[in-house]
Symmetry: D2
Amino acid sequence: MEKKLKVGVIGATGMIGQHYLRLLSNHPWFEVAYLAASPSSAGKKYSDAVAGRWHMREAIPEKFRNIVVEDAGNVAKAAGKCSLVFSAVEMDKQAILSLEAEYASNGFAVVSNNSAHRGSEDVPVLIPEINPEHLDVIPEQQKKRGWSKGFIVVKPNCSIQSYMLPIYALIKAGYPIEKMVVATLQALSGAGYPGPSAIDLVDNTLPYIGGEEEKSEIEPRKILGKLKNGKFVPDESIRISAHCNRVPVTDGHTACCSIQFAGKKPEMSEVIGIWKNFTALPQELKLPFAPIPPIIYREEDNRPQPQKDRDTGNGMAVTVGRLRKCNVFDYRFIGLHHNTVRGAAGGSILTAELLKAKGLLG
Amino acid sequence: MEKKLKVGVIGATGMIGQHYLRLLSNHPWFEVAYLAASPSSAGKKYSDAVAGRWHMREAIPEKFRNIVVEDAGNVAKAAGKCSLVFSAVEMDKQAILSLEAEYASNGFAVVSNNSAHRGSEDVPVLIPEINPEHLDVIPEQQKKRGWSKGFIVVKPNCSIQSYMLPIYALIKAGYPIEKMVVATLQALSGAGYPGPSAIDLVDNTLPYIGGEEEKSEIEPRKILGKLKNGKFVPDESIRISAHCNRVPVTDGHTACCSIQFAGKKPEMSEVIGIWKNFTALPQELKLPFAPIPPIIYREEDNRPQPQKDRDTGNGMAVTVGRLRKCNVFDYRFIGLHHNTVRGAAGGSILTAELLKAKGLLG
Amino acid sequence: MEKKLKVGVIGATGMIGQHYLRLLSNHPWFEVAYLAASPSSAGKKYSDAVAGRWHMREAIPEKFRNIVVEDAGNVAKAAGKCSLVFSAVEMDKQAILSLEAEYASNGFAVVSNNSAHRGSEDVPVLIPEINPEHLDVIPEQQKKRGWSKGFIVVKPNCSIQSYMLPIYALIKAGYPIEKMVVATLQALSGAGYPGPSAIDLVDNTLPYIGGEEEKSEIEPRKILGKLKNGKFVPDESIRISAHCNRVPVTDGHTACCSIQFAGKKPEMSEVIGIWKNFTALPQELKLPFAPIPPIIYREEDNRPQPQKDRDTGNGMAVTVGRLRKCNVFDYRFIGLHHNTVRGAAGGSILTAELLKAKGLLG
Amino acid sequence: MEKKLKVGVIGATGMIGQHYLRLLSNHPWFEVAYLAASPSSAGKKYSDAVAGRWHMREAIPEKFRNIVVEDAGNVAKAAGKCSLVFSAVEMDKQAILSLEAEYASNGFAVVSNNSAHRGSEDVPVLIPEINPEHLDVIPEQQKKRGWSKGFIVVKPNCSIQSYMLPIYALIKAGYPIEKMVVATLQALSGAGYPGPSAIDLVDNTLPYIGGEEEKSEIEPRKILGKLKNGKFVPDESIRISAHCNRVPVTDGHTACCSIQFAGKKPEMSEVIGIWKNFTALPQELKLPFAPIPPIIYREEDNRPQPQKDRDTGNGMAVTVGRLRKCNVFDYRFIGLHHNTVRGAAGGSILTAELLKAKGLLG
């Protein structure tokens, strides 16, 4: 058996950090060897650093309890311990930009959960099934920024994963999409911890999530865009309008989508066939976190539902249902994914697996 | 003080029937003098008939406890007791069509909560602020059906009220709407009792409500349509596409709306002004259940919310918020109304008040 | 009509402060003339001070919107504006002790929602139906503390009101209680705002509320105690054991109670009769917030429930149900009250009404 | 590898039946070879029989989809297909008594989830860690009822498992318990499907579960009792008083317990030690469903919680926390278990494993 690749988690004590540890505890390729967080946690054993704020349902994995947490800002401490860091730090945008760049400049591959770098024109926003070729920017990113070995890759906002795979599958099959109106019903875990107050989510839903609609509209265009001269040029042929709601659900984002094709539209049966047969590079490479199949189509009228479908494919698959005609556009459907797995830590781990499979981790 | 008009409730023991009694208990114009339900309740005092299944938060109004419930099918029992009946019976479509017609043929004004007659081309589907002139069909309805005095008026489905007043206000102001995509987050009370199972709504939402999307798309066109030769001709210039979700909220339907105007579009400030200044016949006639103002615009990002806004205007107002540009259409906004008040019993009471004010109740 | 007494609210911008304003907006005896909060709110109009954090379902009462908020710590600002202040400040215990004492030493009657003074041996913890005679301590409190006119009265913890009236009614009827085991299911509003995180209360309950069990066990003994030589001597003849749980309910605390009488026990029918006929000084004095009757007994197996019973008596009554034999003690029953009305602001307003009726407000 | 024992599930289409199939789909000892349900399902493939009413989060196990469902009442159909049936039929008590007896008289071991036979004096109510010796009644049961090979064993009500292991561990360690007051917060799945209405469990809890308190008080005495002359004599030395509440939680019953020892009481540290070190026959026999350890003690103040602790030990362990002194009895603690696993199907499977390990399955 090959030796595992050593990885680190910065922002390891926060909720997304905890999800990373939960998901990496038995990873076949990666071994967590470096945990870092804010100075207040530095020097403590991980189990002490998260005492009273471990939010996962599973216990802290035994193997991580005694790792001494480092100060994430002290990049020197990571030297020699790992070659890739997952970034889940919770700081302001400027601080994240600097910190992630510092790790990269010190030779680390950085796979980030944060939105800070998503707008950087030389940083890929990756969904491994959709735009793996965006990794080709890495040499240019390194050259431009003067980094010899490190680089930065980020994952998109968790709100868009419920529909990006389904619409990409259609685009790839030759049916480009021109317009899309989507309304999401998003789970609480997407807001981090503590997130919204319980008293505001009993007998209630919230019609607003700060910044979410903008991200939902902009990020898909970058993901579907092209790399030209070391920069990503967004695909402006698709226009998305998003309404983002918060609902009293722990995990699992639902998206109600109405789509208009740019040209001819496929029959409904063809759409379902495209989804059922969709497969992509992560599946071909047999990446450990790649769900097979990546898209599940449910025939029942009342599916997908977050409670019942979020864990499909170990939380990495996207479940789709209710494909039907739309009075205004061509079709409507419902998409659902697990926002803290596929939409956050799990999606980043899949990206890291892709990096490794493509030989980008040295 | 004028003597109150005597009214009846058929289907008085069901949940909507209970809402009628709750809302009519202190009505300034109407006095409930006839209660009818299925044969199994007939002959019992109302308090006994609903024992163990009174679902309102308030106690059974004292004045109704001892009224003896009649068999709704025995229309003769209503004779002389009231001149208008609110219909909230829960039966199959054909049975409702017959029963409501029988009341009408016996001289009763019937204001119905049911969907059965909504498709009848000579029966008005009324939102009193929008299409009061549709009552002009009544003489034609009576003539065609051979009824001397009785008639049938119905209220629309509860899913559409969150946006019908806001879009009608714009249409009336000279801005017709061509297309609309709406996603609703609908409360449990809209499903009647018992409605969905609790275990399906904890940590969950449901992406489907049987028949609701069709009603949401068809009924607005009839309401906005014209009466021609004794028949309603739907307004086919507006196309609506609806996604209807069930969420764990007791009362209050939220609608996320994207709209495209047919012609020129107003500025956002003008839209808000139109909504804030909107008023209509029920307000001018000072009908007791007419909310003043009928539309409330909230400036906060995170409003309207069902828990906080459903009771506005005693549950009869529509609260709107988050007007903003749409990437695909012209604008987006959120609308909210109380589905068992404005959207059901309260809306029908407002219709009955309009009938009385227009001298249609004999 | 008599002129209203001017009152103030300190801590007016917090959630309990907001409840005070909601409940006092149409009070027949009191007029709010002074609002104070932390320095960060001082100088702002009330509507600006609570912008984005007004948590009541009703809008901010129009009459309070333009009142300029003062710095609660600058007691001089209250001079001449009111003679009583309701204290709902959120500070540490020592700071509250000082601030409330400063208001009292400056001549204000202080009716406090806070726990800080509940342990002070010369400060009455009042439930107006139970221990109005504890107000006799006021002259002694004033003398001891060197206050000429001001004084402090507090209300007990919100967890105990669901059972204190029911068990006091029995005690008063000649059936002293020796032991009681109670498990509460407490609403979220009892935790203030923001309180628990939504993600922790979806598909979950919490078995612990910090400090709540101790308060639930100690405060009843003081309330049932006697005033001797200027100090309250707790009633140690009753022993209470409390389990306090947090549940996903907005308002309304439920208590499952098992009681053992000290001596003979009444028949169950007698217990119910005692509860139904219970009345006390606030009812006799017709205090505006005194519920009539104060205790409601529901015969149905599945009542009381927070959603359906919390608003009984405008949120000031206690609803009791399910009286039955206990295998271990004498009887069991369920009690329920509205924790932010009877258990917090409403309870304090009733106390202030009692102070006024007894001529203690100058 | 030994050949698996063939088992059947009667009532296979209901919610508990579905849990059996979910839990048995990869069982190392048992193979499901017979599925039976009501006549309306008979003759259909299992996947068709449960179409639209499969309530598990996981899909129907592939291997069961095509099994043809038999009419449970036609016992002859089971002949030769299996030697043990798990009974999860939903019928009235008399019908269950007859049907289970008929399976037993036809030579099948019946392990039942139903309450029907719990009161039968020769039928053991089994918690495998507590009273495995109650299986000694089987020869006497067979003799008395004239059964040559079949027999009936039942599992107790799901409300009691949260405290039975913890109190039994103390009793076994030499600390008999005299009195116990328990208040439960029970999950929705305990009510079967559909169970309570969603609208009754949003912003609400229910203070009553029909029949549950009686079962919670009576069944522990039988489980802790002795077998004498072919009959179970309940242990009347323990008195339990139970308050049972329904809360909006999908799975996981919480119990707030106050206990009084009959004699001397252990120190708190000893209690915790007893729980942590508790082990019993199923653990010694390494039964596949036996959790190791069976009791988990959590040190945190706010544990156990249903959302976080129900899946401990694959849903078969009991999690305990908050051991503290009681003002009325000796100690208080919180217990929690997964009601559809340990408390229902999983508990019965553990019983079946014990039967096999003890050679009682022929």
